[in-house]
Amino acid sequence: MAYHHDLGVQRHRYDDLKTLLACASPRRSGDELAGLAADSDERRMAARYALAELPLRTFLTEALIPYEDDEVTRLIVDRHEAAAFAPVAHLTVGGFRDWLLSYEATTEALSALAPGLTPEMVAAVSKLMRNQDLIAVAAKCRVVTAFRSTLGLPGRLACRLQPNHPTDDPLGIAASTLDGLLFGAGDAVIGLNPATDSVPDCIRLLEMFDALRQRFEIPTQSCVLAHVTTSLRAMERGAPLDLVFQSIAGSEGANRGFGIDLALLREAHAAALSLKRGTVGEHCMYFETGQGSALSANAHHGVDQQTMEVRAYAVAREFKPLLVNTVVGFIGPEYLYDAKQIIRAGLEDHCCGKLLGLPMGVDVCYTNHAEADQDDMDTLLVLLATAGVNFVIAVPGADDVMLSYQSLSYHDVVATRHLMRLRPAPEFEAWLARMGLLDERGRLPPPGADSRALRQLLALEGLPR
């Protein structure tokens, strides 16, 4: 069905729903690359007017990617809960924005609504929201998950410690890990992107992290971000695996590009659950996403990149993950050109994920060929902390020496926690206190030369070689 809107003297026509959504999207390089973006700001605004008038329930009857063709669409449709949707079923997309911002949309109301929302509804309303709206609505959402630490509680900001090394050298990885622990990083997960994706390497790294965790009795979880099939084989061989990781996307074809489907994720989820390694909860999946992955796999079906991203969250939601994060600026300037686009996308992904009930984190990051720098990451971090992001990712000095991109520094996490009075996950905070890393006000000051934690953590004997 085609959509129209008259703006000024011109009638704008949009051939179908996905065209309307693409044209209503804020300008970004990935949609321009795909040939989907509005070719003028006025056409973009006409699309937003038309979208604002669209009944929200349209998305329940009109699939962007056909049900018969795509298992992600089938998942979205089959899992939709009409009863949860009922409170907003009468609204237009524009009316839904007003409702989300209203005082009626409390934390409890939003939690109850999540199973009634589809990714397409959430993507649509986000296109009518300013950055401030994305922050305000996300800040009202609360998604709490747990494994050995509890994440997503109000007033908390957790951190994935990412100790990557170009050749997976055990001592090098341990060095970056210990450095991060001294900054109070790692309460979300100690998560390594391995340089090589092999089962023996994965097992060796998992054993190393598990030994480190047990040695210092750290209440957190570790993850080697290998392919899900590698994690499955590692579990079969008895490896101490806490979380199964996988990159996911918003269509069956794009997921095939990652070498996965829903059945494979179900198998891995069941295997990780059966290990029962969590102490305070049993959320045991970790997913990463990012706008542009479907287009780069040539499996976007003519749907704009932000809507495809939110569809990936339907995949994540199926597996009750501990952690989900968008790797927002990693994919490059052909998808998100500059800091303006990266910042906007980070806020969209976080808000849309939260509305769908996901424990959203963000890798606040950029590559050297994007028009962005660390000042922009400062901005996005403060915005996300204000929006109540569950966790962010940090590496030593913001420089990932394996993936050659810039994320946040451990320093940034400490600075933001102190500035915005946010605390680490409670179990991890108690551990930091036991290690003597916190002062009487609960802050984490620079450790002195005589620091007990410094001596204990950096004692070289017993470190992996």
Binding site: A174, D373, G397, V401
Partner: protein, 260 residues
């Protein structure tokens, strides 16, 4: 690397025993909650160097001079400038229509076409392209070589169109890799058998990390010659070419990371 200097705060560096194991920026110290000034400036200067590499211009006249007596010609992709190039990878993969006739005029019976592409690091191409080609030529005296194509605003897949237009059986694209903070001038080589428009990345073999602290010219040239011989014998490149026995391919390339 200056980022590895111990923090100035204490006489004893508690990270001393760990720094040898990684070039990650560990143990930087703290000014309050922030980076100390030296660490801040080190980071920003590394980022500046990386950005300069991305936005720099390759000095192709000089490279052509260095390659002589080997013939070469400079060609453009369809990306008119750097900003368009970064936004539109598809344009960087195709030859400018006006430049195709000059290339087609050189069509012949070639074992190998060499394409130098600026990619994402002008610094890498300026520093390493000519000496690497010299090292390669020493090793393949009997190969029939097409004139070297020096391509502006060019990505790896541009080699497909070039190789096809020249009629070459193999194309090797030397390309500036995406700069990191520690290395801004890393060169990569992508080898493709029977180049033609539409070849997939899975049909290529890659040698990565050619720079002063990575693969040497000799190592990279040895590996390339090995791959070319295998490709010629098996009449293919890509995932089906078993590279386990290859001499050196650089640090492991990641599937989800586009280095070009």
């Amino acid at each position: 690397m200056s980022a590895l200097k111990p923090p100035p705060s204490g006489p004893v560096d508690p990270f001393a025993g760990l720094r040898v194991a990684t070039r990650a920026r560990i143990g930087l110290g703290r000014s309050g909650d922030a980076l100390p000034t030296t660490a801040l400036l080190d980071f920003q200067s590394a980022h500046g160097r990386a950005r300069d590499a991305v936005h720099g211009v390759v000095d192709y006249p000089r490279i052509a001079e260095l390659l002589r007596p080997l013939p070469s010609l400079v060609l453009r992709s369809r990306a008119p400038d750097r900003a368009s190039y970064l936004r539109r990878p598809d344009w960087g993969r195709r030859l400018h229509a006006d430049d195709l006739p000059a290339l087609s005029a050189l069509h012949g019976d070639y074992d190998l076409a060499l394409v130098v592409a600026d990619g994402l690091s002008a610094a890498a191409v300026n520093a390493h392209a000519a000496p690497l080609i010299a090292a390669l030529l020493e090793r393949i005296p009997n190969w029939k070589l097409a004139p070297v194509v020096l391509a502006r605003q060019a990505r790896v897949a541009l080699g497909d169109e070039v190789g096809e237009a020249l009629g070459a059986r193999l194309v090797a694209v030397l390309v500036g890799e995406r700069p990191g903070l520690s290395i801004a001038d890393s060169l990569g080589i992508y080898l493709t058998w029977a180049p033609r428009l539409g070849r997939a990345d899975s049909e290529r073999n890659c040698i990565s990390n050619i720079h002063a602290d990575g693969l040497s010219y000799a190592q990279a040239a040895d590996t390339l010659v090995w791959l070319m011989a295998e490709a010629r014998q098996r009449r293919l490149t890509g995932v089906e070419l078993k590279v386990d026995a290859a001499p050196a391919l650089g640090e492991p390339a990641r599937n989800d990371l586009c280095l070009e």
